[in-house]
């Protein structure tokens, strides 16, 4: 049973993960992973300067989450190669240290908030100079020319820069995991059986494939499809075993709980 995320707005995946694990005290296994990965994808799309380090790390963490969850869901996942195991530990440690760092600053910000609240209760005197001394103050307009004033006006009324970066070339991935589920639940009952490779053959972006893969895992978890992998790293055979109503068969409650 997937953990239902019925929570308000989260600021990105770290926020969501911290909330789920620390507040709701659920384990990742119970978490509706699709939502978290979607949160990652959404953030990735929003990065307006394409910072490779940040983007790579986001992807790595999203991939770690997917892998952690896959291990739980895929059949025959108990025989695992040790190197892979170590790699996964490493990635999990990275995710853990990221979450700890994020939490540290969250708590620090709460302290800053308390300081600001206290400071706000004390109002500063800003009365400024008494009239009798004003005559002494150096003339502030000394050396200012009408041309400078004109320039300052043009600067003041010019629209404030609003950074908007064209992201078209980054091929934004618009599909969310739940949209992919809907799509598959519509398509699979009609084809009955298909390999994962064929299912994703048209897709170019790795992220899109990951999204499809997560959708397949959700359907598997809900008992709507069967997965069969002839050999490790081999293609995965997907067989629809739900009723033919297709999309209606998907747990609507889960879908409804998702508002990414």
């Amino acid at each position: 049973m997937a953990y239902e995320v019925a929570t308000p707005v989260f600021e990105g995946p770290f926020d969501l993960l911290l909330h789920l694990i620390l507040r709701e005290q659920v384990e990742l296994w119970e978490v509706d992973l699709a939502r978290i990965v979607d949160a990652y994808l959404a953030e990735l799309q929003k990065l307006d300067t394409l910072d490779l380090d940040v983007a790579t790390e986001f992807l790595l963490i999203a991939a770690t989450l997917v892998e952690l969850k896959t291990r739980r869901l895929l059949p025959g996942s108990d025989d695992i190669d040790l190197d892979e195991e170590f790699g996964l530990w490493e990635q999990r440690d990275l995710l853990l240290s990221r979450l700890l760092e994020c939490k540290t600053f969250k708590d620090a910000s709460a302290a800053l908030q308390r300081m600001a609240e206290r400071a706000e209760r004390s109002y500063a005197r800003r009365a400024g100079m008494e009239e009798q001394f004003l005559g002494l103050t150096p003339d502030l307009l000394d050396g200012v020319t009408p041309a400078q004033l004109h320039k300052a006006y043009l600067k003041a009324i010019s629209p404030k820069p609003v950074t908007k970066v064209d992201l078209e070339h980054v091929a934004p991935i618009r599909l969310s995991v739940w949209e992919a589920i809907d799509e598959l639940a519509d398509e699979l009952p009609r084809v009955g059986k298909i390999s994962f490779r064929r299912l994703t053959g048209q897709l170019v972006e790795r992220l899109e494939i990951i999204v499809r893969f997560l959708a397949v895992l959700e359907l598997y978890k809900q008992g709507l499809i069967n997965l069969d992998q002839g050999q490790r790293f081999g293609d995965i055979e997907i067989t629809w075993i739900g009723d033919t109503a297709g999309i209606a068969a998907v747990d609507r409650e889960l879908v409804d709980s998702y508002e990414g």
Binding site: R125, T137, D142, H150, I157, P159
Partner: protein, 187 residues
């Protein structure tokens, strides 16, 4: 031990930037005006006895803190040495907006600059470069500001018509208005 109202009066007068009439203090503190005057007189005496560098003066129908006249030489030196002698970029932009758009309210200037301009406007007014010139006839009756003769004199201008004209590259009134609208909405 000072009383709560006495301390409240000190606090309010400390943040006020003009003389505060006793009625207003009485109203805020919910005590009779006569009591306010009594307390202010006591405070004034107290500062004098304690030999403070400031006094509580009754000026223009209200109370305010002022420097003690004895200390004028120090304050003068502070004014001469301490004040930065040039208008900040923020102040110059604010002044420019008032000059070109007068009569204009503080809220309108704020909207154009995208920041609160109360402090800057007060400085400009204290310096005598801008002044209140009327009130917006619309709801709210906002105070409208314009530039002063001193401003013209300092810039070496005879009249506002001598300000450099705004060229055609300046956004039209409707663009500026749309911009103001957009910026004035809380984000």
């Amino acid at each position: 031990m000072a009383s709560e109202v006495e301390r409240a009066i000190e606090a309010i007068l400390m943040v006020a930037d003009e003389p505060i009439p006793p009625d207003l203090l009485a109203q805020v503190l919910e005590i009779p005006t006569a009591r306010v005057e009594e307390i202010c007189a006591e405070l004034a005496t107290r500062y004098q006895v304690d030999d403070r560098g400031f006094v509580l003066a009754r000026v223009a129908g209200g109370y305010r803190y002022q420097t003690h006249t004895d200390l004028a030489p120090y304050v003068e030196r502070f004014v001469l040495e301490g004040q930065s002698a040039r208008l900040s970029a923020a102040a110059l932009e604010t002044l420019a907006i008032v000059a070109y758009k007068q009569p204009v309210s503080r809220a309108q200037v704020s909207a154009i600059r995208g920041v609160n301009v109360d402090g800057v406007m007060r400085t400009l007014q204290l310096r005598g470069y801008v002044d209140e010139v009327g009130r917006d006839p619309g709801p709210g009756q906002a105070v409208l500001y314009g530039t002063t003769p001193l401003f013209l004199e300092k810039l070496g201008l005879d009249s506002l018509r001598e300000l450099p004209p705004l060229g055609e590259f300046v956004p039209g009134a409707e663009v500026v208005e749309a911009l103001e609208q957009g910026l004035s909405e809380p984000s």
